[in-house]
């Protein structure tokens, strides 16, 4: 009975909880509410994913108005997987958040912080499950507007300016997206994604359709921070409160990537996006440029959070590279990396948040002696860091393996070589951090800080363990990703 409403409940529950938290205004209540909602969401997302694997597509007409006139929520393996990622990260963050937020957010702002966090959660899940183009825009703005505030609440004043920059760029991105949707609506008279996919071939080749495609793609690329549209990302991640950084880094860009996949392959179809236009060449060129730019920039950062933010620009490059290759193996690699990068970055930013709990900002100079003061945190950073590099036995290796396989299938050995070369760059920036933790002499010997509290350490280490577990037992992410890739490629034919 309730299982048929799962798809709407995953959106409605955090939305209502957010309102409740904003009205009650008690920090502790806010945290309990966030925890309860996040755990419920985790269970619901797992059920939803299981259900989509059996039923392939679940469609839910809002208010029982039949699509395409009514708004439809539509979930298949791909977006159920994205919801699962958000819910997994969300559950870990909810446990982690209590102490971190107590340390980083002023008491009078705490309940608003949780209310906005839940609102952002709602927006991201909403973007993932909805099957209506304009609905995506509304959820996108819900998620974005709340994330601007979540960033601005960082303690450094630079968080304010970072949030402002993100607001300008994010709004331009969302407006581009809605302009694109406008063109598609003018040409087809529908906003339902599945209906759009059916009606677009009839008007294919007309200029407004291509204009729409261009606006939607550029708008989404601003949101997902594809090089060179990534300028908002490093400062926003570096100066936001730890919990915001973990959540946004692990989920927000991933949802934008999901939308890109959905529009490129399902709505427009690979033939329009890839054969009529020079999409693959553009994607691959920008992705490779982003991978190298992000990795090199990460090497020269003193702020560890900022270094990992640049590494996000590079890692997003790997995902879009898989999209650009656009074969089944390539897309599997892209979708797997979407999940894997979410886990890895969540693990790393969680561990950095633990350091921030003691030290405030996480600068390179804070790291020496960490191995003695916080041995578990230090080990966690090493393992998640090696996963970022792509060492066998970790999730990072799995995604790179698929990307290299996909480039070799095309006979593009140069691309495979570039992927390997870029891994060396990521080894350099991760090695700088690991070296500072283990090899550099400690400057001040006062014993001021030990491991973070268990409520922060446990979820971080679970994420680290996931980096290893899914690196060895790859069945779950890879099989779902393969189904999603097949669905994406099959949709346009």
């Amino acid at each position: 009975m309730i299982s048929q409403h799962l798809i709407i409940l995953v959106v409605v529950i955090p939305l209502l909880a957010s309102t409740l938290v904003a009205l009650v205004r008690r920090p502790l209540f806010a945290w309990y509410m966030t925890l309860a909602v996040s755990l419920t969401e985790f269970v619901m997302a797992a059920l939803l994913l299981q259900k989509t694997l059996v039923e392939k597509v679940i469609s839910y007409p809002i208010g029982s108005w039949a699509p395409p006139l009514g708004i439809e929520y539509r979930v298949d393996a791909l977006n159920a997987f994205v919801v699962m990622l958000i819910a997994t990260i969300g559950a870990a963050i909810a446990i982690y958040a209590k102490r971190s937020v107590e340390r980083e957010i002023a008491e009078e702002n705490r309940s608003s912080y949780y209310a906005l966090y839940l609102l952002c959660y709602t927006g991201l899940v909403g973007m993932a499950v909805t099957g209506d183009a304009f609905n995506i825009f509304v959820f996108m703005e819900i998620a974005s507007l709340s994330s601007y505030v979540l960033i601005a609440l960082g303690r450094n004043r630079r968080a304010l300016y970072a949030a402002y920059q993100y607001l300008i760029i994010g709004t331009v991105g969302a407006t581009f997206f809605v302009i694109g949707i406008g063109f598609l609506y003018l040409m087809t008279g529908t906003l339902n994604l599945a209906d759009l996919a059916q009606r677009l071939p009839a008007v294919a080749g007309k200029a407004p359709v291509y204009v729409g495609l261009a606006f939607i793609t550029v708008g989404l690329c601003l949101k997902l921070a594809l090089f060179p549209l990534h300028l908002w990302l490093p400062n926003a991640y570096a100066f936001a409160p730890s919990v915001t950084t973990i959540f946004l880094a692990a989920t927000a860009t991933k949802v934008a990537i999901y939308l890109l996949l959905r529009f490129t392959f399902v709505v427009f179809g690979p033939s329009m996006a890839f054969h009529d236009l020079a999409f693959p060449a553009i994607w691959i060129a920008l992705s490779v440029a982003g991978i190298f730019y992000g990795s090199v920039a990460a090497i020269f950062q003193d702020n560890v959070k900022r270094a990992l933010a640049y590494s996000s620009v590079a890692q997003i490059g790997y995902i879009t590279l898989g999209i650009g290759i656009a074969t089944k193996t390539g897309l599997t690699g892209a979708v797997v990396h979407l999940f894997n990068h979410g886990i890895m970055k969540a693990a790393l930013f969680m561990l950095l948040g633990s350091i921030a709990l003691r030290a405030g900002a996480v600068m390179m100079s804070e790291l020496p002696g960490l191995a003695r003061r916080m041995p578990l945190t230090a080990i966690g950073i090493v393992i998640a860091g090696l996963s970022m590099v792509g060492v066998p036995g970790t999730v990072g290796f799995v995604s790179k393996w698929y990307l290299i396989l996909a480039s070799l299938e095309h006979g593009w050995w140069w691309l495979a070589a570039l992927i390997v070369a870029s891994s060396i760059l990521s080894l350099i920036y991760m090695w700088r951090i690991i070296e500072a933790i283990y090899a550099k002499p400690e400057q001040n010997q006062q014993d001021k800080n030990g491991e973070p509290p268990l409520s922060m350490l446990a979820p971080s280490l679970v994420m680290v363990a996931a980096c290893v577990y899914f690196g060895i037992d790859t069945r779950l992410p890879v099989s779902v990703a393969a189904i999603a890739a097949e669905m994406l490629l099959g949709a346009g034919r």
Partner: protein, 118 residues
């Protein structure tokens, strides 16, 4: 001239869109940037609503006296978009107030200069 007149709403859209985007990119004053952003968003309202009007059509309330109706859906969509626009502008201005309190300036170059010194 004929096409210019027939397409006046589209021309309005394009002109507003370009003015808005230009102001966002070219102005260093944080409030002027927000004004530009607002103009840019406003152009989208026109993009949706203009083509929704059917010449000679009336409001979409079914009546035996009329046969031609305008499309009401864009109005509903844009009502939502307007709310989003207002929220964005309000949040942006609130951030500018906080930035002014923290940096003592709302000029982009002065803020960047202060950040470089840190």
């Amino acid at each position: 001239m004929h096409t210019l007149a027939a397409q006046f709403s589209n021309w309005g859209t394009v002109v507003l869109m370009m003015i808005g985007l230009y102001v966002v990119v070219a102005r260093g004053n944080l409030i002027k940037k927000l004004v530009g952003l607002s103009i840019f968003q406003t152009s989208v309202y026109l993009l949706y609503i203009g083509p929704g009007k059917v010449l000679g059509g009336t409001a979409a309330i079914i009546s035996p006296n009329f046969t031609v109706y305008s499309n009401p859906l864009p109005h509903v969509l844009i009502l939502t978009a307007i709310v989003v626009g207002v929220a964005t502008l309000a949040l942006g201005l609130a951030l500018v107030i906080r930035i002014n309190a923290a940096y003592g300036s709302i000029e982009e170059d002065e803020i960047i200069e202060q950040e470089r010194d840190e």
